[in-house]
């Protein structure tokens, strides 16, 4: 048997093997394949668009109220999507608004707050700064006589530490409004997370008033 005869014999041994799947069934399966591909493709396109927005904000954005765009955490004008981990905005009346979207770059936030005149310690490692000591309130010296007490954070203060997120879990953008003028003399703020860092919905953003010190709040 030469090569040609052998090849012919091999081919003929398969002549009875036929695919029985109708073309319509292949097309139906193909549509399912394409649908599976589209889900991550759409997500990737969305992420790319979001990244493009963030980059454009980083390149062109300025901090309209505070006048300082923190590197990598730009504020933006009305109607512009902001996707940074957090944004610090100085508001009318001297208050400072911190919008959290992600517990990231604690050092950058701490530096920004201190630059804005807030003695602050920021840690996103799942625990408090061990150098910080709780501040013991004995009234609010900044509260005018006859006025209800208003604390330095969101108009409230719950003692040395409280959960800043009323829903308990840090799952959505959350804003703190800090009023530096309401901080007692010698006091600062500690912002930290409890729970598992990086696990959205599984940790809480915490804020407390602490004794200002170089080791804790930098001054």
């Amino acid at each position: 048997m030469n090569d040609n005869e052998l090849i012919t014999a091999v081919r003929e041994s398969f002549t009875g093997v036929h695919s029985t799947t109708p073309a319509a069934q292949i097309v139906k399966r193909g549509r399912a394949v394409r649908a599976r591909r589209r889900v991550p493709a759409v997500a990737a396109a969305g992420a790319a668009a979001a990244a493009a927005v963030a980059v454009s904000v980083a390149l062109t954005g300025s901090h309209p109220a505070a006048g300082h765009p923190p590197a990598g955490h730009p504020a933006s004008g009305p109607g512009v999507v902001r996707l940074a981990a957090w944004t610090v905005t100085r508001q009318a009346g001297g208050s400072i608004k911190v919008t959290f979207r992600e517990a990231a770059d604690a050092a950058g936030l701490q530096r920004t707050l201190r630059a804005d005149g807030v003695p602050a310690s920021v840690t996103f490692t799942g625990g408090q700064n061990p150098a910080c000591r709780p501040y013991t309130f004995s009234g609010s010296p900044s509260t005018p006589a006859g006025q209800p007490f208003r604390g330095p954070v969101n108009g409230l203060i719950g003692g040395p530490g409280f959960s800043a997120n009323p829903k308990g879990a840090y799952t959505t953008p959350y804003a703190l409004v800090i009023s530096p003028s309401r901080l007692p003399s010698g006091a600062g703020l500690q912002i930290w997370t409890s729970g598992t860092p990086g696990a959205a919905g599984n940790f809480q953003l915490q804020v407390g008033v602490v004794q200002a010190s170089p080791q804790c709040t930098g001054s």
Binding site: V10, F14, S19, I26
Partner: protein, 170 residues
């Protein structure tokens, strides 16, 4: 309508048997071969704009089917121990359908070939790919394709040569 792709349908009708035979030679089980070939054709339909420009769309289907078979094996391997598809080639030959036409001895002999030789035979004989295209599909050198094909044919010839029984003198 965008989903109507007459050229795909024509390609499918023309190529499906050859692709199935080529994959069957490689995987050794007709149900598995049919399933992975169907999956590969479905992927070809989903990417038809790209696949239709491939120099050998049938080879693309066969390569995709073989990859799908490996992926399937890996998935199953995490669940229950199953033999490596590359090792299945060395298992004793089991004709995929003893009722099928043709010479069952030839099919059995094919299944006794090492898997790479079977793949070369499948692509060269059932898809009519030339040496260069076969080498591209399998990711090996053209010289290696020739070597595998030569050894495969030699093994088949040796395996299929008529057996003569010496008659004992009466």
């Amino acid at each position: 309508m965008r989903d109507q792709r007459p050229d795909f349908t024509e390609f499918y009708q023309r190529s499906r048997d050859g692709c199935l035979r080529a994959v069957l030679v490689s995987v050794g089980d007709q149900d598995t071969a049919q399933d992975v070939v169907d999956e590969a054709f479905a992927r070809a339909w989903a990417s038809w704009r790209t696949v239709s420009r491939h120099p050998a769309p049938a080879a693309w289907v066969v390569r995709t089917a073989l990859n799908a078979n490996i992926s399937r094996w890996r998935r199953r391997h995490r669940e229950v121990p199953v033999p490596d598809p590359g090792l299945v080639a060395d298992f004793p030959a089991v004709p995929w359908d003893s009722r099928g036409p043709g010479d069952p001895r030839i099919r059995a002999a094919l299944m006794r070939l090492p898997v790479r030789q079977r793949q070369v035979v499948a692509l060269r004989l059932f898809l009519d790919l030339d040496t260069r295209r076969t080498a591209q599909v399998l990711g090996i050198a053209p010289g290696t394709v020739k070597e595998h094909l030569g050894r495969a044919l030699a093994s088949l010839r040796d395996d299929l040569k008529p057996t003569y029984h010496q008659e004992s003198p009466s």
